[in-house]
Amino acid sequence: MRAGTRWKRFRRRLRYWLDHGERQRLLWEEMEFHIESMAQDLIAEGFSEREARAAARRKFGNMTQKSEEARSTWIARWMSDLAQDLRHAFRGMRRDAGFTAFTVLIAGLGIGASSTVFSLVNTVLLRPLPFRDPGRLVWISNGENWTIQAEHYSDLRESNRSFSDLAGWSGYYRTGDKELTGIGEPERITSVPVTGNLFALLGVEPAIGRPFTAEECQGRYSAPAAMVLSYNFWRRRFASDPSVVGRKLMLNNQPATVVGVLPASFDFAGIFSPGASIDAFIPWPLNDKNKPGGNTMPVIGRLKPGATLQGAQAEFTTLAKQLESQHPERNGIDPRLVPLAQRVSGGVRPALFVLTCAVGVVMLIVCANLSNLQLARLGGRQKEMALRAALGAGRSRLLRQMLTESVALSCCGAVLGLALAAAGTSGLAHFHSFNLPLLESVRIDGSALLFTLLAAVACGMLFGLLPALRVTMRSLNEGMQDGSRGSSGGKRHGWVRDGLVVSELAFACILLVGAGLLIRSFLRVLDVNLGFQPERAAALRIDPSFRISSLAQQNSFIDDVLNRARSAPGIVAAGITDVLPLRDDRSFAVAAKGQVYEKGHQPEGFIRIVSDGYFDAAGVPLRQGREFTERDRASSELVAVVNDTLARTLWPGQNPLGQAITINVGHRVMSVVGVVADVRHAALETAAGSELYMPMRQTGDYAAMQLVVRTALPPDSLAAGIRTALRPIDPNLPVREFVKFQDLVDRAVSPRRFLVLLLAGFAAFALILASLGIYAVISFSVSQRVQEIGIRMALGASATDLQRRIVLRTLALAALGLALGMAGSRVLSRALSSLLFGITAGDPVTFVEVGALLIAVAAIAGYIPAWKASRIDPMVALRSN
């Protein structure tokens, strides 16, 4: 048929359908006319009027059916059937409120969990980054993890042909770097120095105002002339007042003009530094010789149209070789290019993969459970189905009705699930301290809604299909004969239900093993020897608001601070450091004096500038020699303390005390006076690297002053006391930044905690479902066999005997499920390897514990119906039918 005709017919069909009420009435009238005409003819042939009409009606037949047949040419039959099935389903739901509530609850929990995980995965992995054309953005690192020297960046930016531009920022910024004054309460804010083109390269326009001008990017590092506020800071600190743009504020006592406010969608911290909060951006003058040197710069590039990542990588490798030979005085460079999205979310990919699989397994258990429930329930509706079949309902029609019912149920569940997912996602989005990228932008969006709908339909189909098939198959042959309540519903029926329970147990076992492995890893991580003692230690940023111009001035400030802090009530120890464990870091090349290392094999050491008392305050144990003291001053011998690893690296098998050590910055030579324990500074899971401590009183090369105190009281109660103690030194000292060491640890383990919590939740849900499932199956089989049990007891079977038989049957099912689940876990747990710590994927303890737990739960679930069965009164049971 030609397309035009087809289209016309489709339009006509639509029109008919739209006013089908009217059309049906007219059809009815037309048929009435037909009957009337027939009757008139009969009367003409000599029938009485009454006879004629009756005969005509008889001849015409069932008018309703005729009109339905005629109507079916324009209304698709399935639509009217669907409406009918839905009415039926809802009637059934009302009748069976308990079943409905349970199903909706279970399906809702499952769908809610799925949608939440989907939203998370969608935000972190699937949705493009919130930048212009994010697919062309490339992260350029130096080696695996290091950042790039600013001089190299400038040269690369000049000479490369693959990128339309490169931009970067200073990886050297610290939390609370700048003190903001000149407006309200003084406050320490976190500002990131960025290259002037960063916003343009990412395609981000300020919501108000403008980005930095080239002139503003040529100033002094210590005194930026302009600043751009982050949206959140603008909202919190300035109550979204647009007039703040253009105002001059003071940053570390230097005037800086607010030139713009970034849009809410620009979540710099969420993408590049999850868990931190960034208040403002300042220009980074690359030409200023006084900025911190070394590898300080994370670099991002935007590929030119047509350029490929491989091509760019090849070009950068060549350029880097040239740069290294032209500038031997600079740090080495080994550019590695990866797509920005991979860099941002690559780290959490395995965890999200595991979560996705886990939630999928939860859904399978939900479906198996509901399937089982539906089967039991439909056992009672067997006769209804048989009757329908006898009255002419086709098998596919019955099948469709059953599926409509289950899908309708699961859609009701989806409504609940959606509410749960909305709560779940907004809960996730508010976990600011969670160290996961983009967490703040997790929400239920269009694709999550679509996913929920699909999940609901799939879930309904999945859990409805098996019962529907069973029921319709039975209804055609045996349904009507199935007279007595006592008959157990056939062997095959039992098999299906047992199979479902076994698979539920197997899936639950897999989840439990996964969760168990992660929980045990988590405990191992928490048990790790950090090298410092986070309990009762806290830090406060105390950089003076005046400029320190000499080491003497600096040291008297340090003396003053430490004396006052130590005399504050409850303080056990106090010291100062420039970097906090698990938060900030920097590294220099270090060397044993006189030793020459091959290029590329130069030892790297993390540098910490600390004052006397720091080791006590942070709880870092001294292994050998002595700590720094007040007497290690600018005028005395330059000294250093190393950690175990550095001592082993530089002087294997020798006594490190008294050795001379040098660093590549400033080429100073220091004498090692002490050895302290390794501190896990980067992450709890990674062993400490080499660490070199230098006394703060002998150097001015540090970016922050953190007063660390150890206290006899809970750290929370300290803030006020310290503030009072320090006020005489600097009345403007802002104290927003009071950081408990325990919080640093918590933040570092937050992604792991997050994964463990979710997975443990899923596993617990799965365990509950599986135990409900096994309980339901056993008590169903008991209730089906009341008569048999009655006879057995009447013939002398003892209650214990009976109980043992039922519990044994339960345990047999559980053992089968367990065996399958264990085998599955053994294979699947390997996917977890990268997330485990301190245990292997085949950790026997976990497997044994999970096995014992499941068997115990199954035994309880089986014992309850067994106990009930043994209380059956044989006389009542035998009479009951």
Binding site: R9, E30, F33, H34, M38, K66, E69, T73
Partner: protein, 112 residues
């Protein structure tokens, strides 16, 4: 979406063709169509009401006939159908095809 076919007929499409042919003679209502088919076939073909009305709906949906309300001979409201140009074309095609098929069947059966 294919052309609607009458499922109950022994010779599929025959009823549609007969209805169209009858309507060549003018505007008729459903009852008259059934009567005419019966009379013209010498009482051999009886049109089931159960298939007539679906057939009319189908023909109308395909745009081959058009129904409109009018007044019948006995002064009652009735729905009269008329052939459309499309329907005329369709009828020509159908009768040619039908002639071929019956001719072929007749040759095989040795009637010719």
């Amino acid at each position: 979406m294919g052309t609607e076919k009458n499922r109950a007929d022994l010779l599929p499409g025959t009823l549609d063709m007969l209805v169209l042919k009858i309507l060549m003679s003018g505007h008729l209502h459903g009852y008259a169509i059934a009567q005419l088919i019966q009379q013209l076939s010498g009482d051999l073909l009886r049109v089931e009401e159960g298939s007539l009305y679906p057939a009319l709906q189908r023909l109308e949906l395909n745009g081959w006939i058009e129904g409109e309300w009018g007044i019948s001979a006995n002064n009652r409201r009735a729905r009269f159908y008329k052939l459309t140009p499309d329907g005329r074309k369709h009828l020509a095609g159908e009768s040619a095809r039908y002639r071929q098929v019956t001719g072929a069947v007749a040759r095989i059966m040795g009637f010719a």
